[in-house]
């Protein structure tokens, strides 16, 4: 049982909790349809595609409409804070929510009161809030891109918008920024940094680097980070250990991107349809590798 918490860009969308289905390019929840463009719907769609192959049930989703005013996010924060302690999830993935330190802390308090502490995954706005709160190391997994990693590495910055130039500068390599993020306790137990080369790291250092296949156009496509977070969430729900799940998710995300033969104008839905093929292929190749050994 895993959960996904996030927003959709429609102020009229009410706060809903429930199981989700994917039909064509739409996520269906509680009788409502949400288009899979990017953001949390893309994360959910990627997780559902991965669940098909992993043969596990899909996530319970907590969704609300928010176009950036934060009103929807605050209602969802309140709902989660009041209700999580009575639930059982193996993992919870927090996504596009308005960063808010007070509400973030209330949510973490309520998680502390759950009977079994779930694995905690954070990306996007909720990850910003986690870093701002000084409690990043309460999380098991963050999935930043290079720009967000620079923000995590900058102990002063309250948001990526204020990341200092000497840290953001491209001369700083990702491994250096990872070290800096851990030194200031602004990183989760495991980090997956997505980019030209994906890095998987923990406090001791880089655990894996994945640079194949490399498809330059993917950087421009909105939602490619969301799909990575969705795939890794499903793998964790299927019982994979975090480092292993991160490694598989990174490979699957890259292969899905490659198979979609994208241009910088490609939509994320075109990438998501290749996730089942990519995941099957990666899991098969792992199996053959272990059998060979």
């Amino acid at each position: 049982m895993f959960a996904i918490v996030g927003t959709v860009p429609d102020n009229r969308f009410p706060l809903v909790e429930g199981k989700v289905k994917l039909e064509q390019d739409m996520v269906l929840i509680e009788g409502r349809e949400v288009p899979v463009n990017r953001g949390t719907p893309a994360l959910i769609a990627a997780a559902l595609k991965a669940c098909e192959i992993l043969d596990i049930s899909g996530p319970t989703v907590f969704l609300v409409g928010d176009i950036g005013t934060g009103e929807g996010s605050r209602r969802l924060y309140e709902y989660i804070s009041n209700n999580l302690r009575h639930r059982e999830f193996n993992s919870i993935t927090f996504h596009y929510l308005q960063p808010d330190v007070d509400w973030h802390n209330k949510v973490l308090f309520s998680i502390e009161e759950m009977r079994h502490r779930p694995l905690l995954i954070a990306d996007a706005g909720f990850m910003y809030g986690a870093k701002m709160s000084g409690l990043a190391n309460s999380y098991d997994l963050f999935t930043p891109d290079a720009g967000e990693l620079a923000f995590l590495a900058d102990e002063e910055a309250p948001h990526p918008f204020y990341t200092r130039g000497f840290i953001l500068h491209e001369q700083n390599s990702v491994p250096e920024l990872i070290v800096r993020a851990y030194r200031h306790k602004n990183a989760s137990r495991i980090l997956v940094v997505k980019g030209k080369k994906d890095y998987i790291a923990d406090e001791e250092g880089i655990k894996a680097e994945i640079d194949y296949p490399y498809v330059e156009a993917l950087e421009a496509i909105g939602g490619t980070g969301d799909t990575l977070t969705g795939i890794v969430s499903a793998l964790l729900a299927a019982g994979y250990e975090i480092l292993h799940a991160a490694l598989i998710a990174s490979k699957v995300n890259r292969v899905s991107g490659f198979l979609s033969n994208p241009t910088p104008a490609t939509k994320i839905t075109e990438v998501i349809q290749y996730i089942p093929i990519a995941l099957k292929e990666i899991l098969e190749s792992e199996r053959s590798y272990y059998e060979y050994r």
Binding site: N37, R38, I111, L135, Y162, G165
Partner: protein, 183 residues
């Protein structure tokens, strides 16, 4: 260590350091401060008038504390009423400035500009926005929905539609894109 224990161990200094999601609006004079406070409170914002931190050496003796993430929204509301703060800074680190580094990638037919965590991609021939990626605040998917498929010559600017610092970063990428693509 549990989070509850973590909080029990926090000192006053540590607690102050947790105010990382607040910003400060700096004004030329106190009458602007009072007007801005009234406008924002009327709109339902949680703002507070206070003395400026020592790092701020310009402006009057009062500043307004506000939720930093929603900077773009708050600046737009004040601008509509004819008030422009002389500076906006994060409360925790008042000397920080917005990013001014741009990363540009030329894909041949397409051009991508990145500002902080936001990336904007345009088809060069048509100047149509084909993708928006990065960011984490909830106005990013909203902005993408409103801007993708439209020309940078005709579309409303991100600052007119966005609300957050991610929206603000996209505005900077948008301005840089226009600077590079328009005569």
């Amino acid at each position: 260590m549990s989070i509850l224990k973590f909080f029990k161990k926090k000192t006053k200094k540590d607690q102050a350091s947790l105010k990382t999601d607040l910003g400060i609006l700096v004004f030329h004079n106190t009458s602007e401060v009072i007007r801005a406070e009234n406008i924002l409170k009327e709109k339902g914002w949680k703002v507070r008038v206070m003395g400026p931190p020592p790092e701020i050496r310009s402006g009057c003796d009062l500043v307004i504390e506000f939720p930093l993430i929603e900077e773009l929204n708050i600046l737009r509301i004040l601008e509509e009423k004819g008030i422009t703060p002389m500076d906006v800074v994060p409360e925790n680190s008042p000397l920080l400035k917005p990013v001014d580094l741009f990363n540009v990638k030329d894909y041949g037919k397409f051009l991508m500009v990145r500002a902080a965590n936001m990336k904007l991609t345009v088809e060069k021939d048509t100047l149509i926005i084909v993708n928006i990626s990065g960011g984490g605040c909830p106005d990013v998917p909203y902005l993408a929905q409103r801007l993708i498929g439209k020309s940078i010559k005709e579309v409303p600017e991100p600052r007119e539609l966005g609300h957050t610092l991610c929206g603000y970063a996209l505005q900077l990428a948008f301005e840089e894109m226009k600077r590079r693509c328009l005569p």
